[in-house]
């Protein structure tokens, strides 16, 4: 296990609001090795981003509250760090890329200056060295004419270009872990492919581990080594990417994969998952998926299924995963 970088155990993140307690995460456990890319897949609101923000200690508190048995990262338990120690890790050892590059960059500073600021703080270099390094990073992420672009403001650049700036800024301190929260969702499809290729190349080169948050199974297949499927604040299934696509065991994963149209088949209607995503203020008892599951049985309604090993490195949280093939 010397290669282990991150181990999250029993992560519960709750938000205390006027309407009630939102149980956004209900016992998330995951592990990540160095230089490994883990895909975190699920619908909007299933807790993917909350998982990422919890790991980085960015959940606003109040109203949020993060509890876990441990969030172990590279030899330290992040939960035991104070504010200042946590800040030193953020951006330096764990970096995070957000979905909307246009709004995640500060509108009133040139992009080069913003990148240089991050470098300056984590590498303790002078302003000029920071700027030089920023331009180097811009060159590395394939920004044409990096010198000129570094003086531009975010609104003067395209979405793809802004996301390149973002990637440059985040990788500048050579973090061990990069959390990418839907980094390509806001971009055009062609630009998406370019950015994905770029990220894939860079993380391989720097041996950066990645948690790649997405709702796009195609993207997962493209770049992830392993994948964890989330539903309503729970990881329902996790395995190597290939295994998941070939042999999905959880009913939710199966329905998701069935909802992807295939090129060779002609169908009029795509299969859908009946019902809607449950409220996390008042989540269903037992297995959170049972009201929408065609295989649901009486134990599913009372007891919460724990992860069961189906085969090597393939876990599924379901009582009836072996039914209904």
């Amino acid at each position: 296990m010397g290669d282990l970088l991150l181990r999250v155990k029993d992560l519960y993140t709750h938000f205390y609001t006027f309407e009630g307690t939102v149980k956004a995460l209900d016992g998330i456990s995951l592990e990540l090795k160095r230089a490994e890319t883990l895909g975190l897949v699920g619908e909007t609101g299933c807790g993917k981003s909350v998982t990422a923000l919890s790991i980085l200690g960015l959940i606003p508190c109040p109203p949020g509250k993060v509890e876990a048995a441990e969030i172990w990262f590279d030899g330290v338990d992040l939960l035991k760090l104070d504010k200042e120690e946590m800040r030193a890790i953020r951006g330096k050892k764990i970096a995070m890329i957000f979905q909307e590059p246009a709004t995640a960059l500060n509108p009133v500073f040139p992009v080069g200056e913003q990148t240089a600021e991050i470098i300056r703080i984590h590498k303790q270099v002078s302003k000029r060295e920071g700027m030089q390094k920023a331009v180097e990073m811009f060159h590395l992420v394939g920004i044409p004419d990096p010198d000129r672009v570094s003086k531009k403001y975010p609104h003067e650049l395209s979405g793809g270009m802004n996301q390149r700036v973002m990637i440059a800024a985040k990788l500048s301190s050579n973090p061990a872990l990069l959390v990418a929260d839907e980094p390509t969702t806001a971009l055009d499809v062609t630009v998406q492919a370019q950015i994905l290729q770029l990220m894939k190349g860079l993380v391989q080169r720097f041996r950066t581990a990645v948690i790649f948050i997405t709702h796009d199974l195609g993207v997962v297949a493209e770049i992830c080594d392993r994948v964890a499927v989330m539903y309503a604040g729970v990881i329902v299934e996790s395995s190597k990417t290939r295994v998941l696509f070939e042999n999905p065991r959880h009913p939710y994963t199966r329905s998701l994969l069935q909802a992807i149209p295939k090129l060779v088949e002609r169908i009029d209607r795509l299969p859908v998952i009946s019902g809607t995503v449950p409220s996390l203020i008042n989540p269903p008892s037992g297995c959170r998926f049972h009201p929408r599951c065609s295989l649901a049985d009486s134990p599913c309604k009372v007891e919460k299924p724990s992860p069961t090993s189906v085969e090597a490195e393939h876990w599924v949280s379901c009582f009836r995963y072996d039914q209904g093939d």
Binding site: L58, R87, F98, T103, L105, P107, V108, I118, I121, Y153
Partner: protein, 328 residues
């Protein structure tokens, strides 16, 4: 931009003042004047001619820098404005400067400590500033600091006795600056003592608005993606709050501050009256009471010019603060 605004203001003001069902001639003539005397005064002042002709004459004179003679003070209006405006400018600018220096950091502090004791205290303080009428606060301060404790003068701009012994050389018309440059310490001291109360009153009132404004725009900015992103980058809180967030939060704050400043430069009437501060507001109130048309018109035109100018400065500041705004 300036020209149509001034033209509009002059037309509206001119006609409003002239349709008032009372004549300055009656005021000048006094209660016992005969109809004939009044008619004579009216024809002297040109008030017997048709309104549009009167307006035409007025505009022609204004264009050559002649705002007419004040009926009340018997001085050229332009001279009166030159005498009274610096007092308002001095008071308002000092109050605004202090407000900005205290108000913005206070708003930021309040926002970054949201819902904690310091935030509640700040909000209570600024709420009291909004709720408390200016004249009431002014009277309380006068009563406490001038009457009971005799620490500060009740009103006026400077002690006349001091100016008699140590005459002020008028350069900018701003007593604080003029006395400071010439090293006239007794006069400087007197000017400082006199400006404390009116400034405090104004600052308390202005702080309320500005602190609330910068607090709320700061809170709005702190919710933005780029702030969370900066936190994820591990930037220190001080950098995030005072560099990343404040620069963005200043944009709406500058608007409010600029507009208020422009408004007050036109005469902070209440404060000037309470403290007998010989500024534009003081002059304007006096002119209105005596139906001094040329003076009222002069004040109005000056206020319009100031307001438009301040607006222009605010617009320029926008572009400095926010690179997304560019004027062609």
């Amino acid at each position: 931009m300036l020209v149509p605004v001034l033209l509009g203001v002059s037309v509206v003001m001119f006609f409003i003042t002239h349709v008032v069902p009372s004549s300055p001639a009656r005021l000048i003539g006094g209660p016992h004047a005969t109809e004939e005397t009044i008619r004579q005064i009216e024809s002297e002042l040109g008030l017997d001619r048709p309104l549009h002709l009167q307006y035409g004459i007025y505009i022609r004179k204004v264009l050559s820098g002649d705002f007419g003679i004040s009926i009340h003070s018997r001085n050229p209006v332009i001279e009166d404005l030159k005498n009274y405006f610096p007092a308002t400018f001095e008071l308002t600018s000092l109050a605004m400067l202090i407000t900005l220096i205290i108000g913005i950091p206070l708003g930021v502090f309040s926002a970054t400590h949201k819902d904690r004791a310091a935030d509640h205290a700040t909000r209570l303080f600024s709420l009291s500033g909004v709720a408390m009428p200016l004249f009431w606060l002014g009277l309380l301060l006068q009563l406490l600091l001038s009457s009971y404790f005799k620490l500060l003068p009740v009103g006026g701009r400077i002690d006349p006795l001091v100016t008699l012994l140590h005459p002020i050389r008028h350069m900018s018309g701003l007593y604080l600056i003029d006395t400071l440059i010439t090293g006239n310490w007794p006069a400087f001291k007197s000017a400082v003592l006199h400006i404390i109360l009116p400034t405090t009153t104004l600052v308390y009132f202005l702080l309320a608005t500005l602190t609330r404004m910068s607090r709320s725009s700061m809170l709005e900015i702190l919710r933005q993606d780029y702030i969370r992103n900066a936190m994820a980058d591990g930037l220190p809180e001080k950098t995030i709050f005072y560099r990343y967030a404040l620069r963005n939060a200043l944009i709406p704050t500058v608007t409010i501050a600029g507009l208020t400043y422009g408004l007050l430069l036109g005469g902070d009437f209440l404060v000037e009256i309470i403290y007998s501060w010989p500024g534009l507001g003081f002059y304007a109130v006096g002119s209105m009471a005596s139906l001094d048309f040329p003076a009222i018109m002069g004040v109005t035109m000056l206020v319009a010019v100031i307001f438009v100018t301040v607006n222009l400065i605010v617009d320029i500041l926008y572009a400095v603060l926010d690179p997304r705004i560019r004027y062609g």
